[in-house]
Symmetry: C2
Subunit: 194 residues, 2 copies
């Protein structure tokens, strides 16, 4: 990993944990193993690091939600749907980079318009667009009742998003959150799947 990448990595961790204003350039440099002024050989300043982090979050978002590839094959049964969805959610919840990015966005969402919009994209639009496609696929297969796929995607994802946010701030409740999500998911299946 290049120094430039190491800086981003360290900054993401610290910003997620202590917020942008709660993190000093020196702390970032410490983790990287250089002195603070050396950091300016790689980035113009602290704000520049934040921008680069948002850039990379946006790129990752594009890779995750931009293409059709990441949907995988349409689940054929209730149990399969529950299984793959729980895996997807569990991954999103636990993957360190995704988790830290979420924590960064949620804390800095009021800092500027770019971050506001990115937060909405990550927290609402992306997930919903993705699940709308999966649900649409299952509708076409006749295993989900006919309805607006986007609307059902919201019904499906909103409770999960809130529980993920909860487990970000209270990691000791992670298990409880997952159980909660599964309960909700089973309810969703009962209501909307044949």
């Amino acid at each position: 990993m290049s120094t430039k990448e190491k800086i981003l990595d360290a900054a993401l961790t610290l910003f997620a944990e202590n917020g942008y204003d709660g993190t000093s350039v020196e702390q970032i440099a410490n983790i990287v193993g250089i002195k603070a002024p050396s950091l300016y050989k790689h980035y113009k300043g602290k704000e520049d690091i934040l921008n680069a982090l948002i850039d990379s979050a946006e790129e990752r978002y594009e890779v995750m939600f931009g293409s059709e590839k990441n949907i995988g094959k349409v689940p054929e049964s209730r149990e399969e749907f529950i299984k793959v969805t729980m895996e997807r959610i569990s991954f999103t919840m636990r993957d360190p980079i995704i988790r830290k990015t979420r924590m960064l966005l949620v804390q800095e969402q009021f800092r500027n318009e770019r971050i506001s919009e990115a937060t909405t994209r990550h927290q609402l639009d992306g997930i919903q667009r993705m699940f709308a496609k999966i649900i649409k696929g299952m509708m076409d297969e006749g295993i989900v009742v006919k309805d607006d796929p986007k609307l059902l995607a919201v019904e499906l994802t909103a409770p999960a998003v809130l529980q993920i946010a909860r487990s970000d701030r209270q990691p000791q409740c992670e298990k409880e959150c997952m159980e909660y999500i599964e309960k909700h998911l089973r309810h969703f299946c009962k209501v909307y799947m044949r």
Copy 2:
């Protein structure tokens, strides 16, 4: 309004807008119309102001969700339920103090355990407990299908909570968010109400 209250008021506004670390004691004092050092006649320090704000948020929470009074009478029809629920949500979304408190909590949720817990209470538990009671009431009246009221409360509130969060960070989308919530609410009624 006493100076002590004015300080809390100003601090809430600034913390909501710029975060705790993004706000200086001097800025707070400026709004109040005193000099920064005078502020220490009322609070021991900046952190003390934050704690007082959380105290008052918790008190308000207790008043809103602690008693049975605020549920009002059980709605008797779909349209009435939609109307009173939209009013409730619209109020929660627009009331300046509630809105700023939400913004404060969401930004500072990782600062300490107390704020983490308060955030979960405000964003999840309180709203859900309240709506669980309303839904339970409507179940007893036979206008909502028999099911776990707490679970239905989540299905009902989660999408609304996310849209409210969105309108906090993108106030220009407020109208869109409200329309979205109403759409969801009508869907909810279609699925769960006779």
